[in-house]
Amino acid sequence: MPTRPGRCTTDMATLLWLVPALPLLGFLLLFLSAGRAPRPVSALIGVGSTALAAVFALVLAGWLLSQGSGVLRVTLWRWIATAGLQVAIGFQLDTLSLVMMLVVTFVSFLIHLYSSEFMQQDEGYSRFFAYMNLFVASMLILVLADDLLLLFLGWEGVGLCSYLLIGFWYRNPSNGYAARKAFIVTRVGDTAFMIGLLLLATHLGTLAIGPMLAGAQVQWPTGSVLPTAAAALLLGGAVGKSAQLPLQTWLPDAMAGPTPVSALIHAATMVTAGVYLIARMHALFELAPSVLLAVAAIGAATLLLAAFAALAQHDLKRILAYSTMSQIGYMFLALGVGAWSAAIFHFMTHAFFKALLFLAAGAVMMRINDEHNIFRMGGLRRELPMAFWSFLIGSASLAALPLITAGFYSKDLILWSAWNFRPGGAVLWLAGLLGALITPIYIFRAVFVVFFGAQHTRPSSRYGVRIVLPLTVLSVLALTAGFVETPHALGSISALSRLLASTLPTRELAGSAALQTVAMVIAMVLALLGIAIAWWIYGRGAAGALRASAPVRALARWWLGGWGFDWLYDQTLVQPFLWITRINRADVIDTGYGALAALGRLANGLLSQTEDGRLRRYAGWIAAGSLVAVAVAMFA
């Protein structure tokens, strides 16, 4: 950056570390106030710190874009220094982390603002904001870290906050169970991640992302064992965090947390950390084509499984949870076929429309006495117009309603990239298309059941500006955020992929523009068809006939339980483990230690008999002992 004075770079470096530091400071203030701060003060700290972080992120974005394709690095201090490994606490801002940072800070700010009203009556108001701020800080550390170990710190930090916030209403034991489940299941993935870190550190000698990836490209041939193992282990971590097959079971239960938490952590940001990790490590994954294919396969399988499971749910939040899983499946599919920027594009639009859907769902449920079951709602269109329009816009974007919604553009790009993938692109494309048909069915099922038909409940009170504003802003974003990247037939804008091109490699897509248009039209028709099917079944009331048939009911039961994965894991993992604990109640390994303790107790019994309080006996022992000592001194 020769044209700019150095001082500006220094200022920007300060701003960069302030972005994660501000929410951390907010957390510390709220944490140290121990709930004694008045509610407005807690809200001000919680919302204010994220707002300021968002402003700083915007300033940084403006500066970085004016620099062209620069990368901003700031090293704060040395963390670990050993002979084999140097780890620094440092942040880097390139275009990939810029997009992530902007989305994270802005969505966080909007959700914090929404929460300040949504959680108004809650006794843990200040605790809530403390956890949320800690989460935002951890998430920002995750996306800005320039060292894989620091990234892992943020990774574990968001996991901790996820645990704390799922179990936020800790008086209900089932919430605590859901929190533990989320923590333990993601821990399985995190263990793989950690082993991957150790593998990379031992073989490449550094965990600093840039040098490490460069070293990997030099030392490791494509497709060899080491990069495949490392990438597979990192994929394990990503799968756990992003709730993909086979570690997806925690996400539906995570809906036990407050709705803003579901919006922020379990939809918009944390669960997409796996997508970010793979995108960040793309150079490593490109050395392991088989793992990359596995990423695509996992994505395709998850997007279908979760979409079908969403069809059968009757808890509004669980529908959205399965939908999140399914959409992240699309992102994994994009990553797997090498469409890195398409994955990040879909991450961005998904963050907007899914946060919007959750916030709108929360806005509905808070007005009808926290009812979650969609079949006990109904006809809320007229009573709750604000929530209705927000939810409708979010649903349209999720269903990829053609032309006017953001979800359409990002999903279309993913499908087109999958089509161009060789080998197996056609299968992945078909899976994506099937998902694109199911998605509108399940989400518009919710729309028609909740907002249309007969009214069952009478909503109370009104929304304040702190709920209306985030819903409005997110609605606008859910519609317009897609215009940064459009297909050939619709203007061929590629602002986002050009921006990301300095960080993520782009792959030239082979298919012609005409073919792309045909594929796009097919996706359009499927989205509209899905909405029509949902209308036919749930809007016109064909659902009753459907429910009457026994196979459909059995299928719905199967899908309601998420394809029985919980049952499967219970049978194959939990029950055998419990069986082992039962037969090994008197722990085998404990017997050794038990023997040691018994020996000690025996010696204690013998010795304490000598201490009987008879003075003369003591004197006798002393005399005898002295005699022995003298004898030893003389003769030995």
Binding site: G613, R616, A623
Partner: protein
């Protein structure tokens, strides 16, 4: 001092020490036990004096003065304890003091 006088003095010291130990172990009266300890201390003191005289060194006498001081302190503390015990139990029997153990 000739060498065999030293030996005589040491034999006396050993006999005195043995008497002290025997008294300590045999007597149950705490006052007598205290006296036995005094005898043992003095036996040690005698051994030091004799050795100091034999080799013409002042160390033996210094050690004796130390033992004297020690004995004075020990007796004052010991007697005070015995008095306390007597006022509590009406007895100076060492075995009766066993009650302190339980």
């Amino acid at each position: 001092m000739p060498a065999n006088t030293l030996m005589h003095a040491w034999i006396l010291a050993v006999v005195l020490f043995g008497l002290g130990v025997a008294g300590l172990l045999a007597r149950r009266n705490l006052v007598f036990m205290l006296m036995s300890i005094e005898i043992m201390l003095n036996a040690a003191g005698l051994a030091f004096i004799a050795a100091g005289a034999r080799w013409g060194q002042a160390d033996g006498q210094i050690m004796f003065i130390l033992i004297l001081t020690l004995a004075a302190a020990e007796v004052s503390v010991g007697l005070a304890l015995i008095l306390r015990l007597f006022s509590g139990t009406e007895s100076v029997d060492a075995d009766a003091a066993r009650a302190l153990h339980d």
